[in-house]
Amino acid sequence: MKKVFFCFLLFSNLINGQSGTVIYEAIPLQMDVSNKKTSEDATTDAEVKNMIQKMNKGNFNTTLIFNKEKSYFYIPNDLNQSELEMGEKLNRILMKYSPTYYVVKDTATYTLKEDFIVKNKSTLEWTISNQTKKIDNFICYKATKIEKFKTRKNEDAEITITAWFCADIPYSYGPIMYNGLPGLILELEFKGYKYVAKKIILSPENTTIELPSKNIISQEEYSKKIKENFQF
């Protein structure tokens, strides 16, 4: 387990801090393709292996900033989509990465897309267990959430999201769209993909976080939009 570097300006900020920043390392799943044949066609097999190797290439850093009312999860000074390597682009999609706001009073996330914002009000509760583990010097509790979805073959499926949160850092935020626990999420895991906190900065000063003024649509409207021109 990588050492988490905690930079506390004042110890009392743990309780009374006004704002904070967390750097999470996004760790993609390493897919083993070496001894497997991905297609009967040799050209296709080579292309697939080449792409998987690109996806296995590396981790990337993400940032969460927050105050008492809102958080914003993003990649600072990020490249344009067209400038990204395909491997990283795919990892970001599979790791559900999009710049995302969380508004405590709405208990909803707002995901930034190019022309609009997608509002997703979470109706699923976390299940908190007694299982704990230490991340650096912090005792973290395990919480899980099961998400149901339709596959591309239109079958029902589900995934388990596992979060390790620290009740001693009383902010209900976390990476991507996962929030709402009684403490900051220091580690998030699903399907072998991980977001792991590397650095936390708590500050007595307030940070202003404002949603950009764009048209807001629901998750259902967004799903309908992207399926309009697509059939599996």
């Binding site: 897919m31 393709v33 297609s39 050209t43 296709t44 599979l94 073959k153 697509f230």
Partner: protein
């Protein structure tokens, strides 16, 4: 004497005139060179590649939800067709 001279001059003149009317045939040389190597470009079957890649990813991480699958598919197809 004069008659003979006239006849000779006339003969020579007609001969030149006759030669001038002949069709001049140009000689063309055709050089047979080695035939150029024909380049055969086999375009990738993007549909096949993207399908195989998505199947492989799903074999590793489990099924993708529809929104994720559409994004992955669109990005892969765009890249594959762009490189074709």
């Amino acid at each position: 004497m004069k008659k003979t001279l006239f006849s000779a001059v006339a003969l020579v003149a007609f001969s030149f005139a006759g030669m001038a009317n002949e069709v001049k045939q140009e000689v063309k040389t055709i050089e047979i060179t080695k035939p150029k190597k024909i380049e055969v470009v086999k375009k990738k079957d993007c549909f096949l590649i993207v399908s195989a890649l998505m199947d492989f990813i799903e074999s590793q991480i489990g099924p993708m939800d529809q929104d994720t699958a559409i994004s992955v598919n669109d990005n892969l197809m765009a890249t594959c067709e762009g490189n074709n």
